[in-house]
């Protein structure tokens, strides 16, 4: 602990990142450039999220990390350990106990509160990137609100698949102004982005961008009049806890191709099972998945 500054980054860097965060909060959905630092982990492992977390953590915070909803995967465990060692903060896996939650690709099932901050890890912050490779041009498109191209992407989806097949990283419009990439969360989570009591911060380390949604921001998923947005998920219940309202992962469980659908949010699932809920995967339940 003594060999690191609190939360690894030096104070000047944290100030710089906080300024970027404040600017992001002031202009919801706008991508603020920041001087991303080298972190002791590879790009793609959440360096953007880690820098944002490092800049906002205080010694009194309780920190939670989830990776695709889970608290116990490599990425989540190593980032949690990183801040235990460099910041000495309390950590938890319980969503309601955490004051700062760093996430990769999910929003917790349990509604967040005004006392919490959700930090997203973002691989590619620019929603227009796949169709317009020039950064100079995409910036201009954002500044002039030229977002027709975003719909071209959705058009292509329908033309090819008959419906909007984009199932994660589904683009949204923030407060009627900026089109934003919500990071690769499933579109099931998109409705939770809007009107959320918690602060949402997005950090892209390699791309050196930070953006933000202040509490209770209006967030609308883009769509067509005749192909409206739908927050979809697997048409199953959780095999472990029986929840029908949570986003499910599909897990192959044996060599015969047996499958199990279970909550991707491990804390949510554990909590429900502790309360005695049981899913169809357990012997004694009626329909096995």
């Amino acid at each position: 602990m003594s060999e690191y500054n609190f939360a690894y980054l030096d104070e000047q860097t944290k100030r710089m990142i906080r300024r970027a965060i404040l600017k992001g909060l002031a202009i919801p959905g706008y991508q603020v450039p920041f001087a991303s630092r080298e972190m002791p982990m590879p790009y793609g492992w959440g360096t953007g999220g880690v820098q944002v977390s490092a800049a906002i953590l205080t010694p009194e915070d309780t920190f939670k990390v989830i990776d695709q909803g889970a608290d116990d995967t490599t990425n989540a465990v190593s980032i949690r350990t990183f801040f235990e060692r460099t910041a000495g903060v309390e950590t938890t896996t319980a969503t309601s106990d955490a004051s700062v939650i760093q996430t990769r690709h999910r929003i917790p099932e349990k509604p967040l509160t005004e006392d919490q901050i959700l930090v997203y890890q973002v691989p590619i912050p620019e929603p227009l990137r796949f169709l317009e490779p020039r950064e100079s041009e995409t910036r201009k498109m954002h500044s002039l609100e030229e977002y027709g191209l975003m719909h071209v992407k959705l058009y292509e989806d329908i033309a090819r698949h008959g419906h909007i097949a984009t199932s994660y990283g589904y683009p949204v419009k923030v407060e009627g102004r900026y089109v934003m990439d919500p990071s690769p969360i499933p579109k099931f989570d998109n409705p939770k982005l809007g009107d959320m009591p918690a602060i949402q911060l997005f950090g892209a380390g390699r791309e050196q961008r930070i953006y933000a949604l202040p509490p209770y921001t209006k967030v609308v998923s883009l769509d067509f009049e005749d192909h409206p947005f739908e927050a979809s998920k697997a048409d199953q219940v959780c095999g472990l806890c029986g929840a029908s309202d949570s986003y499910l992962d599909e897990v192959i469980i044996d060599d015969a191709g047996g499958r199990l659908f279970c909550c991707s949010d491990t804390d949510y699932c554990t909590g429900r099972r502790a309360l005695g809920h049981k899913g169809p995967a357990f012997p004694g339940s009626e329909a096995a998945a």
Binding site: V152, Y155, F224
Partner: protein
Amino acid sequence: MTPLLSVQGITKHYGAHIGCADVAFDLYPGEVMGIVGESGSGKSTLLNCLAGHLAPDAGQVVFDTRADGPKDTVTMSEPERRMLGRTDWAFVHQHARDGLRMGVSAGGNVGERLMAVGDRHYGDIRGKATDWLERVEIDAGRVDDRPTTFSGGMQQRLQIARNLVTGPRLVFMDEPTGGLDVSVQARLLDLLRGLVRDMGLSAIIVTHDLAVVRLLADRLLVMKSGRVVEAGLTDQVLDDPQHAYSQLLVSSVLQV
């Protein structure tokens, strides 16, 4: 009658070199104007200054906008000019791949301008895109194919459909038939002529092909070293050129 486009004193320097100097003309609704001259004569520079792709050093490009009447597009705000660029103006590039999104289906390419001006009904957008593919003689069955699978002539026709779908009033064309073989050129010229007439389009066509301007253009500007050396009716300039350079240009064409 108000000119659709009134150009005055357009000048563009590249350092000490003159791109184009002191160009002026009026273009009226429904007129097609050709700009000819050899490579490096400044015709593309002029076209890019007119279309707002290059900022001229001096001069005015006054366009008769639908909402506010004549307005100088050089001093207009960038959002306003870009809005013109995807509504009332169209730009057909010499190389179709400069004007198309090669990774997007034909339908998406045509639909982009519609979506850019706020169309949000997939069925309508697709319907209009298909209709336009047919108007430029591309089989409607290819609506979901990418332009990479199209021939050069088809790509050029797709580019035209993509540009005309929003019903522009002024089309800028930079060597629209360049790089196409002769039979494909003829088909494209025929198509352009029909569209210009049926939609009442005005157009400015830059080319070095005098046969193209004879067929498409009502009027002609002949440029040399960045300056307009002769202007007039197309057939008059071609059949009775007055300036030494125009005479040379006209007499240099190989007879078939």
